[in-house]
Symmetry: C2
Subunit: 147 residues, 2 copies
Amino acid sequence: MDAWARLLRGHASATRELSAQLVTEHGLTINDYEALLYLSRAEEGRMRRVDLAEQLLLTASGVTRLLDGLERAGLVERASCASDRRVTYAVLTAAGRTKLQEASESHLAGVRALFEERFTSEEIVQLASLLERLPEAAGATAADCSP
Amino acid sequence: MDAWARLLRGHASATRELSAQLVTEHGLTINDYEALLYLSRAEEGRMRRVDLAEQLLLTASGVTRLLDGLERAGLVERASCASDRRVTYAVLTAAGRTKLQEASESHLAGVRALFEERFTSEEIVQLASLLERLPEAAGATAADCSP
DNA sequence: ACGCTATAATTGACTCCGCAACCAACTATA
DNA sequence: TATAGTTGGTTGCGGAGTCAATTATAGCGT
């Protein structure tokens, strides 16, 4: 029954470790990194802020502030949507794409160092299949503003 | 390879959900709760702040601020150590113990709702045994100030 | 054409927490 | 005993993120 506490903490510390690495080496938080990552995979490198929030498990205001930083750093810029003037896209810039590539090398190395040293590949599969049952935003990526 | 991101996020959202429940129902954050829990298990209901920090994966300053709040709420109080005048104990008060008991009922119910609905007991054991390999403070509880 | 409600985004005030700098007290060494 | 280094604890500052309130736009139903 107490296993949950340890589970939660082990996880928290792993996340912090990965995040700290990303911050010191590239000046990105783990959410910065993942924002860039989601954008890089999205159609035309752009997403509505609302959709990005859902993916990152942040509130709308959290995303506003996150993107503030990425915009100031020139990694992301704004674009508006012709068919719905409420929406503002976050668009990955060329600089953002470059930054993401740089960061992902060391980040993936960090992930491996943390996880793949401790688990076999079978265990990794097992873990992922278990943990993906936890509450999570469903992965519906609405790429365009007019559905 | 992307499974890690989902793993991390699924976990983060579970933690938030549990924490939010605790906050709205009892006015405790998850760290408040666990601080009370650790204290309740410690010898004489007291711990050095440093040791508490280690258990909670917080920095020394984090614990100072955490305990500020718990002291203001009357759930914890300070005591000094005769043999080492640098150390201040955090001591669980009677009110703190009561609060913990109240909170743990609904918290444990929340944990069950989140996890035990999704996993069989075998899977839970499996998960716990896998996740406890993640980096974590070793559980040495130095109860006294003079070792 | 008109309100009514829902949705996208932003802002201000707040909480939590880490970092760095600091003080005070303990320990070890000269 | 003076001096140096370490450890326990607190404080100021700043980052990250939430909530509640606000603004602007969309899309009904009548």
